[in-house]
């Protein structure tokens, strides 16, 4: 498998299936792990950096889940490839920085990825479509067990797993859920929900995680506390919180559907209209309009189009994806034209 092969492939987490996939785009868990006798990534020299990469590589080969994975040396990727992987949520912006000795393990179905030498020696990610945190954690738990037999993880019984930043010390676990909340945004209830989430020491971020602001109708909610709770407890706390958010969004969708049907349908059909007829469209406008289209599908107002088609449009209309499809550099204007073309062609068949 090569990176370019991914372009014809829909990431597992974008399948649009799984529990509550009308509201929850994806569920993700990540673990931070470090090797005991080697400095944390921001203090590595070349030899130590390579040592980490080699040790992880050997250990990864022992994990059944990771058979046939792609092992990528970050130095060999150009900026476009890196952006492409970020757009697919397989790595962070931080990992694309040109310093240090970084690598990436990419499992075939894109459910699992491991960033090597990002903020910690290992950042393991398991990503699932829909609301499936427990399932993601159970896969993660098994991967971690196998890796811990072959790698000497930095650990103190008192404080748990030791991480480069003390905000992750303990379990090193973060669970996060990507939510689509158009009805709460439309009814201006979203700030109330977000501030309640913040009060319970969870954080909300934008589409691309750390350092990106929540914008439009997409929100990524995750835990902040990593120490003092069992892993299963952390997961079930987020789970309980997200369930309530889902409920609020569902109620609001029903409310809008019953009491403001015309306004709702107007927004949805106009979005559909623009997407079907535009010749130039920016990525932000695309996200906003596709969000409305998705809501239309969720409420069965728009038929004959499925969620996975919309999810795929979200994915492939991003800048690096467009350039990968065209196999050349595109200016911002050229991208806007190409993006509109792809959307038109996809929606053409639908009345």
């Amino acid at each position: 498998m090569r990176i370019d092969d991914l372009i014809n492939h829909t990431s597992e987490w974008l399948k649009g299936s799984g529990p509550y996939s009308n509201i929850v785009i994806s569920s993700r868990v990540r673990l931070a792990r470090n090797l005991n006798s080697i400095p944390f990534p921001h203090r590595l020299n070349k030899k130590q950096g390579q040592e980490v990469i080699d040790a992880v590589r050997t250990a990864v080969e022992k994990v059944d889940f990771l058979k046939g994975s792609l092992f990528i040396d970050m130095q060999q990727l150009d900026a476009l490839d890196k952006q492409f992987l970020i757009e697919r949520h397989l790595m962070s912006y931080e990992h694309a920085r040109p310093d240090n000795y970084r690598a990436l393990v990419l499992e075939k179905s894109e459910i699992i990825s491991i960033m090597i030498n990002e903020e910690d020696h290992l950042r393991i990610q398991v990503m699932q479509s829909g609301f499936s945190l427990f399932e993601a954690w159970s896969i993660m738990n098994r991967i971690d067990d196998v890796l811990s037999e072959h790698l000497d993880f930095a650990f103190l019984s008192e404080w748990g797993y030791l991480t480069s930043c003390p905000t992750n010390t303990g379990t090193g676990l973060r669970g996060s859920v990507m939510l689509h909340l158009p009805a709460l945004v439309m009814s201006r209830q979203i700030n109330r929900v977000l501030s309640a989430i913040a009060k319970l020491s969870f954080t909300t971020r934008g589409l691309y995680g750390e350092g990106t602001e929540a914008s439009g109708n997409f929100f990524q909610v995750s835990n902040q506390v990593a120490l003092g709770h069992k892993e299963e407890e952390i997961i079930s706390n987020i789970n309980a919180l997200i369930k309530q958010v889902i409920e609020q969004e569902e109620q609001m969708r029903q409310h809008l559907f019953t009491h403001q049907r015309a306004i709702l349908e107007d927004k949805i059909w106009r979005s559909f209209g623009i997407l079907k007829s535009a010749f130039i469209i920016s990525s932000q406008e695309t996200i906003d309009l596709l969000s409305m289209l998705r809501l239309g599908v969720d409420l069965d107002i728009i038929k004959d189009i499925d969620r996975s088609t919309i999810n795929r449009l979200f994915l492939i209309t991003q800048p690096a994806h467009l350039q990968k499809i065209e196999n050349k550099r595109l200016s911002s204007h050229e991208r806007d034209v190409k993006r509109a073309e792809i959307i038109r062609k996809t929606l053409e068949k639908i009345s």
């Binding site: 005991n36 912006y93 008192e158 797993y161 030791l162 003390p166 350092g211 120490l227 069992k230 932000q284």
Partner: protein
Amino acid sequence: MLCDLCGKNEATVHLTEIIDNQVTELHLCEECARNKSIEMEQQFGLGDLLAGLAEFGKGIEETESSRLKCSKCGISYEDFKKIGKLGCSQCYITFKRYLSSLLKKIHGSNKHIGKTPLKVTAVADKDKKNILEDLRQKLQKAIEAEEFEEAARIRDQIRELEKVNRKNENR
């Protein structure tokens, strides 16, 4: 409105910066905003925030904490306060008394009750005994609560640890 930085794309992000009481407004396109946010994160990142928290640590004498350096990687507690990242796992031992209260502030707890790696060659040898002790207690509790699946898992961990310990002792 066009982006102030590249002048090409439509500005969709609007920033207000206040530097020395000077208010500057910045209108950016998505791409430039993303670059800008990485830049700002570097300027005012988690490091500052953590440093702020760490300052609250009572009874820490400035001179002592700046003199104290990790024997393994050489960073001082002052360095940590600046960048918000520790240098290596040994730092957790070196700065233990400062980190203990910091961890409590961040997480509301400074006691790990989550999982334990299958293979532990702990940071300090003394710690290995603690882990075993902990696991034995957990095992006892699991048996009392009739959580046999959990008990079996812990028993395996204990065996694994004892095996590692024996191996180390034979070396």
